[in-house]
């Protein structure tokens, strides 16, 4: 599975954001913390890129501003931006995000993972794959694929 040359050999690297500050409300037993964009972002920022020893945050594949959460309707929408428009790893990255959210979010949420508009040449194909539950279930039967995904999200 390992490719000798990465699609994007020399990607731009960006600063990591600092950890979320813990406020007094976080330690208050009586306050209920709702899910917010930052929390979802924290779940996926540390996923490793399959090609580089860098996180999706450092590559700005995921950004807090591209996440939307609705606690009432129980929906989470994540848009991610591949580093280059013809990135062959886009589906894999999307799959990793999806699997991580599948494991980390309560089942009440309906999770949508999509490529940001106009950031990938085969945007629709990728989005269609990522939206197809059965294809995702099938992909997770594939041992090699699961191994790569597990390695990517192990640090998250």
């Amino acid at each position: 599975m390992t490719k000798s040359v990465a699609d994007n050999v020399n990607p731009n690297i960006y600063d990591k954001e600092s950890e979320r500050e813990k406020t007094a409300a976080d330690f208050d037993e009586d306050v209920e913390d709702l899910f917010d964009e930052r929390e979802i972002f924290d779940l996926i920022r540390n996923i490793n890129d399959p090609e580089h020893p860098l996180t999706l945050e450092e590559l700005r594949v995921v950004e807090e501003s591209n996440i939307r959460v609705d606690n009432k309707d129980n929906t989470v929408v994540v848009n991610f931006t591949p580093t280059i428009p013809h990135c062959s790893m886009a589906t894999l990255i999307g799959l990793s995000i999806r699997v991580q959210l599948l494991r980390a979010l309560p089942s009440r949420f309906k999770v949508t993972v999509e490529v940001s508009e106009g950031s990938h040449v085969s945007e629709h194909a990728v989005n269609k794959q990522l939206a197809d539950k059965e294809r995702i279930a099938a992909a997770l039967e594939n041992k090699n694929l699961v191994q790569i995904i597990n390695q990517c999200i192990a640090a998250a």
Partner: protein
């Protein structure tokens, strides 16, 4: 009847009944030593077996002979006998291969004999090297051969040098191909000395080849090996051999550079470590031809993105290399070129940096190089400081600018530590200007960085810049709301004040922050109080400021309580106010009297908090005084305090703050009176603070009383009074138990055995239903640590490891209670355990894991929050450090943890139980975990929707980890 070893039948006996005769060697030796049997006769009697035609029999004979030699006193044989036996053994080397092992073992024993002459080995070694192929022997026999070589070297190294290359060749051929890790460990240790002492002659390359073939070590110890040799042991032992002598230089460099380019991480790390080690022996000239290649490898490793260990070693290697090369700075161009290369590369990194991480990468390289030697430090500071100043002014991103300020500070400090400031004076002179630019910005990050850098470069600060800085600082002190910024500002003014006392005196103390001008604006006033109190610690300011403050307190100004609060907070900082300074303030200005007077007035009307500051201030001041001054203070203030206290318990606080911080040994006739009052308050008062202060003072007195009469007197008085107490009064009993806790603590901390008596009383009450909770509270008190009571600041005696002692004692005593536990008091029993475990040293817990683990697991069933928090902590430790003690109870632990992950009363408990689940998945063998995996994943799902975010994030971590258990891609050994 004479024993068999006096007769030739011995030979037959060795052959036929070897099991019996081998146990008789001690008797034979005592016969020999006492002179009844001559060793030559013994050998003669063994003749039959030694000359037998069957090799097995000869082996038995030699084994018997060797056993005799090994057990014989080392100084018994004379020189002739040793020589003769040596000859015999040498001859035996040529025998059948199965005879060889006992021969080697025997010769090893022979070398240890006092009369063994080193000349004997001239016969032995050639035969050994010719007849025995070392690597064809078993592990233990190879080890014996190596040990023989080492012993010979230890015995007379000069002689071994005299034998010279023949011996070296023998050693090389013997060890060539060794594969056993233990033997290798022994060999590496031996060789690193051997190579350094014995000249290798023409065999340098051969020797290097034989050793270097192991580099880098690739070794995985067997799982079943109880005392396995680790890879790191081997690598650490091999490293010094490879660079033992300068002659290895060239070959070693070639090897190093080749391995640095390897894909294996361990190969790189080992090579870098070798590079560091090699700088101790090799000459700088060795490195010159390889500098370019080395730098490119080092640079690559230092810019590694994720591997911190690798980066660290690469930095160490760079530092070692620069340090080594710097020794040739005056004679060789190579060093200069090398430095230039580093500079250019680091400058490029910094110039291209778009993130702080990239900037820091370049900065670190520069700092490592600068720290390595004086020459490199001067060069780099001269080149980089102006460059970074320019970079700062380019206004890249704020984060990068802050980072560049930090770098300037680091470089400056490095030059300062090396005493090179004069050489770089011209380059650093305008750094304060840059700091001023930074602090003039409104952003907090810039100001903080500016002040921090300014404090580091304070030596080159010119007087002309003081005024603008002070303007900014005063503004900050008046208006800043952020605590970090405020304290940094105060710190900076402190620095200025030490440097330019007069200037600050005029500007700040008498000018902008004059107390009289300020009282109008309350907010401003309180903010500046801290600044002023801080400045009061500087000699030139003490008088002016303290007098102003005293005046406010004496006048009972409305602001007095704030003044007291500021003084109490600042003066307890030992780094600001030294004990001498406090003593001086007290003797010059008389701090205690007005504050006490203020307290007497305010105690009933002011809030408990502001009064508490006053007591803290007095306690701190008394504590800083020398013993004789403390006596004076006591004499002066005790009568009034006692009188007031008789009227109202509230005034007991005065007595407490005067008597608690005394030095051990300070004693006067009122002590008994004080003890009586304390007892009365501790047991009788309705005011809870007064009660606990009463207990605390009793504890202080017991802890600090001088051993002997003084202590006996107080202790007896206490015992008599306590035994007179009525045990039927329920309220009193609760208070008594708590007091016992204080007494136990005081005695335990002073290292007195008598604590046992009181501890037994407390533990006894655990088994009662009514008082078991009080007993647990008392145990909590004994283990807890507080700055206010029984601390070093109050000159208490604190014996080493008292917590460990408490753990051991408690652990012993609690066994007795265990049988009489009922469901009602079991919780208190477990809770007491939790308090003890919480504070006991981690190593002790680990050693006692077998005993503690069941208690911890028991506790998980209850719902007391304190107990659960501690138990989960301890359990987590066990899971990480010694999983074997808990792995058998996995079936019990997992459901309880899952249950606790839904514990509604406390998020702490939820978080800790989830952390524990994470650690379990991380540390236990996959085989134990797999049966539970699916259940745990289902059970963890509700925690993902916990109402607290902090809990959710731990739940995610735990659940994600459990998903990986046994799944492809899991990073785990088993």
């Amino acid at each position: 009847m004479t024993s068999v070893w006096y007769k030739p039948e011995l030979a037959d006996l060795i052959i036929s009944r070897s099991d019996i005769i081998f146990t008789e060697t001690q008797s034979i030796i005592s016969d020999i030593v006492s002179g009844r049997l001559d060793i030559s006769d013994l050998v003669q009697n063994m003749g039959g077996v030694l000359t037998s035609t069957e090799p097995e029999n000869r082996e038995k004979g030699m084994r018997f002979y060797t056993k005799i030699l090994k057990e014989m006193p080392r100084d018994y044989l004379n020189e002739m006998q040793v020589k003769f036996i040596s000859k015999f053994y040498i001859d035996r080397l040529k025998d059948h291969h199965c005879v060889v092992p006992p021969v080697l073992e025997g010769y090893l024993a022979l070398i240890d004999m006092t009369e063994y002459k080193i000349q004997n080995c001239t016969d032995f070694l050639p035969v050994l090297f010719r007849e025995i192929s070392c690597q064809a022997q078993l592990r233990q026999d190879r080890y014996n051969i190596y040990t023989i070589m080492q012993k010979l070297c230890d015995k007379d190294i000069e002689f071994m040098k005299y034998i010279g290359t023949d011996f070296v060749y023998g050693v090389i051929s013997a060890m060539d191909g060794e594969r056993d890790p233990r033997n290798l460990l022994f060999l590496f240790a031996f060789m690193s000395n051997f190579i350094k002492t014995v000249p290798l002659g023409h065999l340098v390359d051969e020797m290097f080849d034989v050793i270097s073939c192991y580099f880098p070590i690739d070794f995985h110890p067997s799982k079943d090996d109880p005392a396995a040799v680790t890879r790191d042991d081997l690598a650490n032992a091999l490293c010094p051999c490879l660079c033992a002598i300068p002659q290895f230089g060239d070959s070693c460099m070639v090897l190093l550079i080749e391995k640095l380019d390897s894909n294996l991480r361990l190969a790189k790390i080992d090579s870098l470590k070798l590079l560091v080690e090699s700088c101790k022996t090799f000459t700088p000239q060795t490195y010159t031809p390889f500098l370019r290649a080395l730098w490119s490898s080092l640079n690559r490793e230092m810019s590694h993105k994720t591997d911190d260990e690798l980066k660290l070693v690469a930095h160490e290697a760079l530092a070692a290399l620069v340090g080594k090369m710097a020794t040739t700075a005056d004679t060789d161009q190579a060093f200069e070129n090398f430095l230039k290369g580093i500079l250019i590369s680091a400058q490029t990194t910094i110039a291209d940096a778009t993130t702080v991480a990239q900037f820091v990468k370049g900065a670190k390289v520069l700092l490592t190089t600068a720290n390595a030697s004086d020459q490199s430090c001067a060069t780099i500071t001269r080149a980089m400081v102006p460059a970074i100043v320019a970079y700062y002014e380019l206004k890249s991103t704020p984060k990068l600018q802050v980072a560049s300020l930090d770098l300037i500070g680091d470089l400056y400090e490095c030059a300062k530590n090396k005493g090179l400031l004069n050489e770089v004076r011209a380059q650093v002179s305008n750094v304060p200007q840059v700091c001023l630019a930074a602090v003039s910005r409104t952003s907090k990050e810039f100001q903080l960085a500016g002040f921090r850098t300014l404090m580091r470069v304070q030596d080159c600060l010119g007087e002309d810049l003081v005024l603008p800085f002070v303007e900014v600082l005063i503004y900050n002190v008046q208006h800043a709301l952020d605590n970090d910024l405020l304290s940094t500002s105060v710190e900076t003014i402190h620095m200025f004040a030490r440097k330019y006392p007069e200037l600050i005196m005029n500007l700040v103390v008498k000018g902008k922050c004059n107390l009289d001008n300020l009282k109008q604006d309350k907010m401003l006033f309180q903010k500046r109080l801290n600044l002023l109190t801080n400045l009061a610690s500087i000699d030139d300011f003490t008088k002016v400021i303290i007098e102003q403050m005293m005046k406010i307190i004496i006048d009972n100004d409305v602001e007095a309580s704030h003044v007291v609060e500021a003084m109490s907070a600042q003066m307890s900082e030992v780094s600001v106010f030294s004990t001498e300074k406090v003593t001086q303030i007290e003797s010059d200005h008389g701090l205690i009297e007005p504050v006490l007077a203020w307290l007497y007035r305010e105690i009933s009307s002011s809030s408990p908090d502001s009064v508490a500051h006053g007591f803290a201030l007095i306690a701190n001041t008394v504590g800083s005084l020398p013993p004789e001054k403390q006596q004076n203070i006591l004499a002066k203030f005790t009568p009034q305090a006692l009188e007031r206290c008789a009227q109202d318990d509230v005034f007991f606080s005065v007595i407490e703050c005067l008597y608690s911080p005394l030095h051990p040994g300070v004693y006067n006739s009122t002590f008994e009176e004080i003890l009586k009052v304390s007892l009365k308050v501790a047991l009788g008062s309705e005011n809870e603070t007064a009660r606990s202060k009463g207990c605390a003072l009793i504890a202080h007195m017991l802890n600090k009383a001088e051993p002997g009469q003084q202590f006996e007197l107080l202790y007896e008085l206490l015992k008599v009074r306590l035994s007179a107490c009525n045990r039927d009064d329920e309220k009193l009993c609760t208070r008594l138990i708590l007091l016992y806790g204080w007494i136990t603590k005081a005695l335990l901390m002073r290292g007195s055995e008598m604590f046992l008596f009181w501890l037994q009383k407390i533990i006894g009450t655990i088994s009662t239903t009514r008082y078991c909770n009080d007993a647990a509270e008392a145990i909590k008190l004994i283990m807890s640590e507080s700055q206010e009571y029984l601390s070093p600041k109050q000159h208490c005696r604190i014996s080493l490891l008292y917590k460990q002692r408490m753990f051991q004692t408690f652990s012993g005593l609690s066994d007795n209670v265990k049988q009489s536990l009922t469901p009602e008091n079991k919780e208190s029993y477990l809770l007491s355990w939790a308090y003890v475990m919480d504070k006991a040293p981690k190593t002790v817990l680990k050693n006692e894991a077998a005993k503690v683990a069941p208690i911890v697991i028991d506790s998980l069933e209850y719902s007391n929050k304190d107990m659960l928090v501690v138990s989960l902590d301890v359990l987590c430790q066990f899971v990480q450090a010694s999983p074997e003690h808990v792995s058998s109870s996995l079936n019990t632990i997992l459901p309880r943890l899952i249950n606790l992950s839904k514990y509604m009363q406390s998020m702490d408990v939820r978080i800790k139980s989830l952390e524990c689940l994470y650690e379990i998945a991380n540390n236990f063998r996959t085989a134990y975990l797999l049966p539970h995996k699916q259940d745990i994943l289902l059970d963890l799902a509700p925690s993902l929707d916990d109402k607290k975010r902090l809990v959710r994030s731990v739940a995610v971590r735990a659940r994600s980890r459990w998903f990986l258990v046994g799944a492809p891609g899991e990073d785990k050994d088993n």
